[in-house]
Symmetry: C2
Subunit: 704 residues, 2 copies
Amino acid sequence: MVRELFNVRSVAVIGASENPKKLGYTIVKNLVHYRFRGAIYPISLHAQTILGIKTYTHVEEVPRDIDLAVIAVPAAVVPEVLRQCVNKVIPLVIVISAGFKETGEQGACREQQLLEIIAGSNTRLLGPNCLGLIDAASSLNASFAANFPAYEPISFISQSGALGAAFLDWISANHLGIHYFISLGNKADLDENYFLERLYSDKLIACYLEDIKDGQQFLQIGQKYNCNRPVIVLKAGRSASAAEAIRSHTGVLAGGYPLTKAALQQYGYIVVETIGDLFHTLKAFAWQPLPTFNRVAIVSNAGGAAVVATDTLIEKGLELADLSLETQNVLRSASIHNPIDVAGDALSERYLQVMEAVLQEEDVSSLLVILTPQVMTEIEKTAAYIGGMKKYGKPILASFIGGTLVDKGLKLLDERKVPAYHFPETALNVLAAMTWYASYRQRTAYNLPTPALKSPYYEEHHAAVNELYQQARALGLNTLPQVSVDELTRRYHIAAPESYVCKQVDQAVLCVRASVGYPCVLKIVAPTLLHKSDIGAVITNIKDEVALREAYYQLEALIRERKIADAAICVQKYIEPGRQLIVGATRDANFGTILLFGSGGIYTELLGDVVRRVAPLERAEMLTMISETRIAPILEGMRGQKAVDIQRIIDVIKAVEYLMQDYDFIQSIDINPLLVSADSICAVDIKIFLNSAKNHTTDNMIEH
Amino acid sequence: MVRELFNVRSVAVIGASENPKKLGYTIVKNLVHYRFRGAIYPISLHAQTILGIKTYTHVEEVPRDIDLAVIAVPAAVVPEVLRQCVNKVIPLVIVISAGFKETGEQGACREQQLLEIIAGSNTRLLGPNCLGLIDAASSLNASFAANFPAYEPISFISQSGALGAAFLDWISANHLGIHYFISLGNKADLDENYFLERLYSDKLIACYLEDIKDGQQFLQIGQKYNCNRPVIVLKAGRSASAAEAIRSHTGVLAGGYPLTKAALQQYGYIVVETIGDLFHTLKAFAWQPLPTFNRVAIVSNAGGAAVVATDTLIEKGLELADLSLETQNVLRSASIHNPIDVAGDALSERYLQVMEAVLQEEDVSSLLVILTPQVMTEIEKTAAYIGGMKKYGKPILASFIGGTLVDKGLKLLDERKVPAYHFPETALNVLAAMTWYASYRQRTAYNLPTPALKSPYYEEHHAAVNELYQQARALGLNTLPQVSVDELTRRYHIAAPESYVCKQVDQAVLCVRASVGYPCVLKIVAPTLLHKSDIGAVITNIKDEVALREAYYQLEALIRERKIADAAICVQKYIEPGRQLIVGATRDANFGTILLFGSGGIYTELLGDVVRRVAPLERAEMLTMISETRIAPILEGMRGQKAVDIQRIIDVIKAVEYLMQDYDFIQSIDINPLLVSADSICAVDIKIFLNSAKNHTTDNMIEH
């Protein structure tokens, strides 16, 4: 357990000002206006008093201890005043000032300087280039955001100060409160992990992040707390252009988004992708219990709206709940099927009757109430009744569609803490996120495993395997040669076709005669050759010696013609075509070892049917991973095909995981295709990239 | 040209009432309160006057002509009063009353009765089971919606009355107006087509539809008007469950959504999928010019929000505009790249300066302005400046993120007719729809062709082809036998492998020896056999006579074992594997002949990579169709593959179109796979379903 976040009883504002146009004034004003109960020490070289409070010229002049200093002076002066804070042993310093990493190289140097100043001291730093910090529980507004939110045990950690300002405005207008608002700024010292680890007693956290500073730690914190405390994350930078915008914004290069999303979800973070979703989802998590499963009832006085809502509901992976005959009897006046159309002339009493019947149904896990303003509609009374439904302990969301007429109802629902939105699709988006998180929590069987140090194969094989690596290293290679790959996969029990590297055509002929047999396959292997079939470097289904010799000469010519460096020709048993899969692994700089599974072969890119997970994984979770691909139904025997043995696929993924775990020298492994049929499995093409090789990111994994 | 919609100078309300709780009162009240300038005749058996207006007991009693009758009496009485309306020669009757098709069989009969009553008369009927009609230009509110919208040449046609009520409330709250609001109800007589054809002078139309009554006419109207007048359509029933909800709602079974969407977009309808998108998109189309292309500038005082907006922008197929060096100079104070971060302390003047510079850029086709409420932010002044930017003639949308603080700004933007939303993703969704429509209009080269009566092949071949059909018919078949298919495809120049149906094994051996050659393929052909490869009914790559005989016996055994009716065994030349495509066509009951192209073979369902179009199509549009598939880059030579000759694929699609056009007896054609490589194209498996066969919907097309 780490100690509670901060205990601030005194604040110094360095760069405080009398001029209402300066941030140094706004910060002091915010402290005063929010009625901070501790001491305020404005530090100013010019003013005697600010807002009636005595000033000091340096923090060191202040006669008492200071728990927090807020710095709002020009960037060039920041190092000097920060040094004074360190001398004064101030535990937390917020640097509001901009002019650091976000401005380029010179700024980055200055930021580095700040880190050097606090190194080894008891002072921690938030920012620079941030909006500050609000702690509503202590009535502490140490920021230049002009908001004084009510208290509620919800925190918002934001890498964008401006989005924080919008959030605070939105929070207040929506009858919500917060505990901490933390503007991370450039994250020179304190980052999202620092706060996520310490805010474990809040009931809900929202994050806006442009990068994740330490991905592995971020996931570990998720593993520790996310089952008890939902964390909603909006991770910017899904697109390449957005990544550029981030670079020019905070000077940090964003990682690949699909990987980040998969990793975060694996560890229970609720990932949203728009600002609206972040805000809307937070409201529902703050006010409503979680659904126990994914079956929803819709009650609406507008049939059309219910139909469109159902479309969205199905798309989001939710389902319409079934109603018992008993309830259908109660509903006779309305339509008896879900979505339930209470009809355009429904008074509030009819809504009430139907909601009560529906919420008592076992199959109903959550309720969406839709209302449109018709002549008879009792908007406010209906809103009040909806508020009363909370007693059933199931999540209830509402959509009141319209303008001025329904706005009163929406406000009333807000006051009763029923998340209500203009449009049903918004409510369903939110409900889908709640349902996803609830199901994550329920998968208690799936405890994320702690990484074992070495695999069961390590003891017996590591000497030999390390020898293979040393040989490759001695040759200056950045991929393992084919013969070594073959040995490695044999030692780790990955089913691969018999395969021999041949120096000349007669050797190939002998190999086939003695062992491989016809039909066979000839292919070029070379460190630089990634897309073999694209250039005709693989000749399959060779039926006799004449064809073999011809194929061999053809590949030799190809090697000469294309000047393929370090090329060899390899003969292999021909494997009957089956389902083509891809299995791979790579070391991601931020999240560690990533496992990958999906549709392989020439369709890899076309299908984009690939699922990623952070290692290590239990076999059960590997099964889930496989089931998330689009090829899964075919593997399971769809369309009259024979099912393949999924456990044998998992064996391969597990072996790849073991290799990554046992040998740091492996940067990535790429098996594509892994051919599987009802009674065979065969890793036809395996590439192992060594760690010295630069730029072997996950992108390599979908090449073949 | 059809005449203007209605010219209503007098209205009778049948079932008028003094009781404020009755619809018959509300309707009279709405007419009076909206200040209808014509005569109002309440028809009531009980009251003498209603709201001070003299009543009559029957319409026939009214001494003057009546232009419009609104019926709000119990369903059982509707036929009787409708008959009186017909006698009185009232041109338009609105039946508000429910209790017709939407309630089941008995109601459907009653609805049929209404149609019989008006048959051959001059009376047209709107409804039954509807909310009525509003014509804001004539201050006519002949509905029970309690809204009196301002006039604007925008109409809303809705198959849900309740959604109409919500729409009207939203319209007023958003400073918009309307021309017609039309509640279609059960569409017994007048439907969407009737109104779409007549509302050609409005500048914008929105539709909510649960079914499209006459798809081909709907498309023709689109072809005629959609380039001049945008029509935004929300078509409910995307999901199966939603289709059920519709059935219970208006008693009409919805058609397949992907087909509907493709057909509507082909003819220029702007398809949206949520209620929010319908409302938000309408606002932007009403107020803003269209973008000339897809390049957008974003100006924001919140870097984070700009980054998230860029993510959405890219996902929607929009692009960030490039800025000239000149403009970058102007922007020096802000960040110089798009998205442009004017920084958190931006005053309205900085917004103004940047917006002006950006809007003068040639590469900027539209502008999104994002604002968050920070300490220095001048929300209202910035909103006013944004309003002033309309002079540049480019579409401008805004997103003011926050709560109470920004709401004033949003209201001001509404007043200045700048579509403004809380969240940038909403604005970008709308901008994507505008960009799509603008590009549709610009494709002037793509004039939808008028169907020629017969293809160029018809004259020479129709006698022989019809003979093939007669033979199949005589045998009672519902697919064309293989030999006939072979002849048909030869006559229409579809490249297919040489293929012979054999009665016994020796015949197969002779065929191969004399003509086909080794390797060859043997397969079972039978009318009931759709998924040949799934049951092992295709044996490929047969290399010699021994293998051929063995394969033949194997298929014979399979036919016996599976009791495949009317089966024959067919021998074919073996075609080297290439890209597997699917080409098909079917007659849809609603939209006519549909052409289909996509990825074929065993991956057809897995990929779901299929594009549909309504025939006839110009070759240029077939090319567009092909380019919309995910396999297109591979066909064009991605990844070192040789490009295939796309024109030869178009030849095949064209031939399929010709066949559908020339022979009504064909219900659908299914070529899967069509094998293509750099220098060959071959329709390996062709099935032709005959029209007598029931239930051959488009679903068959993705089977193989």
